[in-house]
Symmetry: C2
Subunit: 113 residues, 2 copies
């Protein structure tokens, strides 16, 4: 009986390799998801889906210290996921990107299975 070849040849491996996104893209995508992969941050983003909020209100909503929220907002800022404007003493944060909702919806769908 002819042996069934399971392990791929080098040529086949190279063809598959070509279908995988470039290294830099993999870095950026995993970096993006890493940011979503924290409960505090994703809760902040969900809260901002429909409302612009100042830091203290976010801290109240999540029942967390203002400092912890500030640290996380800095991370979200650096990833261009939120934007902000100063209004008097307060700083109002809002979402920077429309993809976020779509990504979350897909995540929710997967989770709800």
């Amino acid at each position: 009986m002819a042996e069934e070849r399971i392990t791929l040849s080098e040529k086949e491996l190279n063809q598959i390799k070509d279908t995988i996104p470039a290294d830099i893209v993999l870095d950026n995508v995993s970096e993006l998801f890493k940011i979503f992969g924290d409960k505090t941050r994703i809760t902040i983003l969900f809260a901002l889906l429909d409302h612009s909020l100042c830091v203290n209100d976010i801290a109240s909503l999540l029942d967390m210290q203002q400092s912890a929220i500030s640290h996380q907002l800095r991370i979200l800022k650096q990833a261009h996921l939120v934007k902000y404007k100063r209004v008097g003493r307060e700083v109002i944060y809002s979402l920077a990107d429309d993809h976020i909702k779509t990504i979350f919806d897909q995540g929710l769908e997967h989770v709800e299975e």
Copy 2:
């Protein structure tokens, strides 16, 4: 001049709180994204988008040790992101879910801005 109220009242905060998904959902969604938030894992998933692959071939593709790949596959298994079947000595892994591609596409879109 009437003071402009910026900070939200407790009532308003509660209304916003109601729009945020339940705690358990936030746990699950952040857990899901946390899994995507690792370059090795997301590369494995990209490779599996179009092909079923055995462990060694995945290790070759990523140029990583078999052990590291096995550990990551276990995590992907536990999250129901991949499924597997044993074929002789080999174990063939494939994607378990169709949402994955959609989520990745959105992630790529965000990154490519």
